[in-house]
């Protein structure tokens, strides 16, 4: 506990000058005073609850009466119960919509427009595309419940173009409810991903494209060998944000479908809430919570690894 004088960013400093060593204990004190408030808040409302989550997950407890030690039974239930597995699977299906639509469309726009987003057009675009990021997810849920309602705009459009047979109550449909929820998430995340990718592509050296064109590269090759590698970091960010949004979704589902019909749109976040506060199965809810946390970490880790800036 001696050398706590600040060193260069990130890099360890080999030895301290004697003049620095003298005040080092004091410096430790000062540092801890600066860090303590945040550490206490974090410990009290994140680390301790997380520890409790883990502890509860080993119990059989209705939240009121006596708790009994239950071993890993709750985890076994989470990983074998067909309903819970379907619920976890729903979250991964949502990833398809939350991630692939925004990233795909974002890449298409970015590579087509390639950095020409200045001036008034750019400002208007940014403002409009960021609106879904500013409003509460709950509001997005309500807006889209109305869009997907039987008299809503989606059905109105289908009828107008002669596809009346397709019209349905989307969010109450056993097959279509989950894709519909996925579309809501895609709508929320679309603007953010597009703008990140459009901004990212302006940082790619344009001479790369010119050189490629001189060499007779096709547009597809430009995309594959210049755009994609150049945007690796931004794509990584988009995937990370959208995957977390999908796996940990709660607000949109709670508002638009309540998890139904049946459990076709129930996601882990909603099931944790239900198990803990409606069905009083605190232990099982906590086991699902821990599994959800681990699933998010496992899903994000490879994305981070692949897209990290390899300098």
């Amino acid at each position: 506990m001696t050398d706590t004088i600040s060193s260069g960013p990130g890099a360890p400093k080999p030895a301290l000058r004697p003049s620095q060593r003298r005040g080092s204990r004091k410096a430790t004190m000062t540092a801890s005073l600066f860090i303590a408030p945040a550490a206490i808040a974090y410990a009290a409302f994140v680390l301790v609850p997380l520890g409790m989550s883990f502890y509860y997950s080993l119990l059989r407890w209705d939240g009121i009466g006596e708790a009994r030690f239950h071993g890993l039974t709750n985890y076994i239930t989470v990983l074998t119960d067909s309903d819970l597995l379907q619920i976890i699977g729903n979250a991964f299906q949502l990833v398809l919509y939350f991630t692939i639509i925004p990233v795909g469309l974002g890449l298409a726009v970015a590579s087509a427009i390639r950095g020409q987003m200045a001036g008034r057009f750019g400002t208007v675009t940014r403002t409009v595309l960021f609106l879904p990021q500013v409003i509460p997810l709950v509001a997005a849920g309500i807006a889209w419940s109305w869009m997907f309602a039987s008299t809503g705009l989606v059905n109105q459009t289908l009828k107008a173009i002669g596809l009346s047979s397709w019209a349905r109550g989307w969010l109450g449909d056993f097959v279509w409810a989950l894709p519909a929820v996925g579309i809501i998430g895609a709508w929320v995340l679309l603007g953010l991903c597009t703008m990140l990718l459009v901004t990212g592509i302006t940082k790619i050296d344009t001479s790369l494209y010119e050189a490629a064109r001189l060499d007779g590269a096709r547009p597809w090759h430009e995309f594959r060998y210049i755009t994609l590698p150049g945007l690796r970091q931004e794509i990584g960010v988009c995937i990370t944000v959208t995957v977390i949004a999908a796996l940990a979704s709660f607000d949109i589902v709670y508002i638009s479908t309540q998890g139904g019909p049946g459990i076709t749109t129930t996601v882990p976040g909603l099931e944790i809430y239900r198990l803990a506060f409606a069905h009083r199965q605190v232990g099982l809810a906590s086991a699902l919570a821990i599994v959800l946390m681990v699933l998010v970490l496992i899903s994000i880790a490879p994305v981070q690894w692949f897209t990290r800036d390899k300098k």
Partner: protein, 274 residues
């Protein structure tokens, strides 16, 4: 150089299409909000006789004035404290500690991907034990803690980029450190602090899970939490529901339009947190 005129047209068309898709739900809500109450309006159809009074009715029914006050109180309870202690810790971790304490930073960063659902159950029992259930503090205190991973990560990243000679000027004792922090570092960090403030404001204002679980009375909740209760109560009256939802999302949208540049910058940088 760029002979991409047709390409640009395609791109503009694509972007305009995206903008339309983004705006349609809002327009559809607006047209429904103006339909006569208790009717079943059509998806997007300007009503013959727009009922602007629906907004007045929704304002009264939702007790918007009380909701605004409640959300403002929660934001005021969370954001200044969270920004202050995150800035202090970011500075402490970036400038006052050696690599030996990297683990402390890693502990903070571990929380970055943590879904709030993973801790909501114990938070309920913790808040209840503190006797704070159904008060605004049930939302305020946990949110301050839950924002620490991002806040500390964000501010530490800023302070790491501050040139070193600013801090290494002298062997500073605690009091002078504090002075240096307040008089030199904080003013320099204004852009980072501003972005963090905007993000935390938005996240708090739009927070839904915590109010739903920890606070029964919608009048003690955030705007988003109250909107959930409003939907539960008026879900079948589409015009009123749409009017209420539009009202509830107006404050953030107005702020966003005023500070458009700062919001966009904050949201884009904020996303890069992963």
């Amino acid at each position: 150089m760029r002979t991409a005129a047709p390409n640009t047209l395609v791109a503009r068309g694509l972007i305009i299409l995206l903008m339309i898709v983004t705006l349609l739900p809002f327009l559809s809500m607006l047209s429904a909000a103006l339909a006569p109450q208790g009717t079943y309006p059509n998806g997007l159809q300007w009503p013959a006789d727009p009922q602007w009074g629906n907004f007045v009715k929704a304002f009264e029914v939702a007790k918007m004035d009380q909701l605004l006050l409640s959300s403002a109180l929660i934001v005021l309870g969370v954001v200044p404290v969270a920004v202050l202690i995150a800035t202090m810790a970011g500075y402490g971790l970036a400038k006052l500690t050696t690599n030996k304490y990297k683990w402390l930073y890693l502990v903070f960063v571990f929380g970055l991907t943590l879904p709030f659902e993973a801790v909501i159950t114990p938070l309920y029992y913790e808040v209840r034990a503190l006797g704070l259930l159904n008060t605004r503090f049930a939302i305020i205190l946990p949110l301050i803690g839950l924002y620490m991973p991002f806040g500390v990560y964000w501010m530490r990243a800023h302070f790491l980029n501050v040139p070193h000679d600013l801090t290494e000027a002298a062997q500073l004792d605690g009091a002078t450190r504090w002075k240096e922090f307040v008089l030199v570092q904080v003013p320099l960090a204004r852009p980072a602090i501003m972005s963090l403030t905007i993000l935390l404001f938005l996240w708090t204002w739009n927070q839904f899970l915590l109010p739903v679980v920890l606070v029964q009375d919608p009048m003690q909740r955030t705007m988003a939490g109250a909107l959930g209760a409003f939907q539960g109560q008026w879900g079948t009256d589409i015009p009123l529901l749409c009017a209420g939802s539009l009202l509830i999302l107006t404050p953030t949208v107005v702020l966003f339009l005023i500070f458009q540049r700062q919001f966009v910058a904050a949201l884009m940088q904020g996303a890069v947190k992963g």
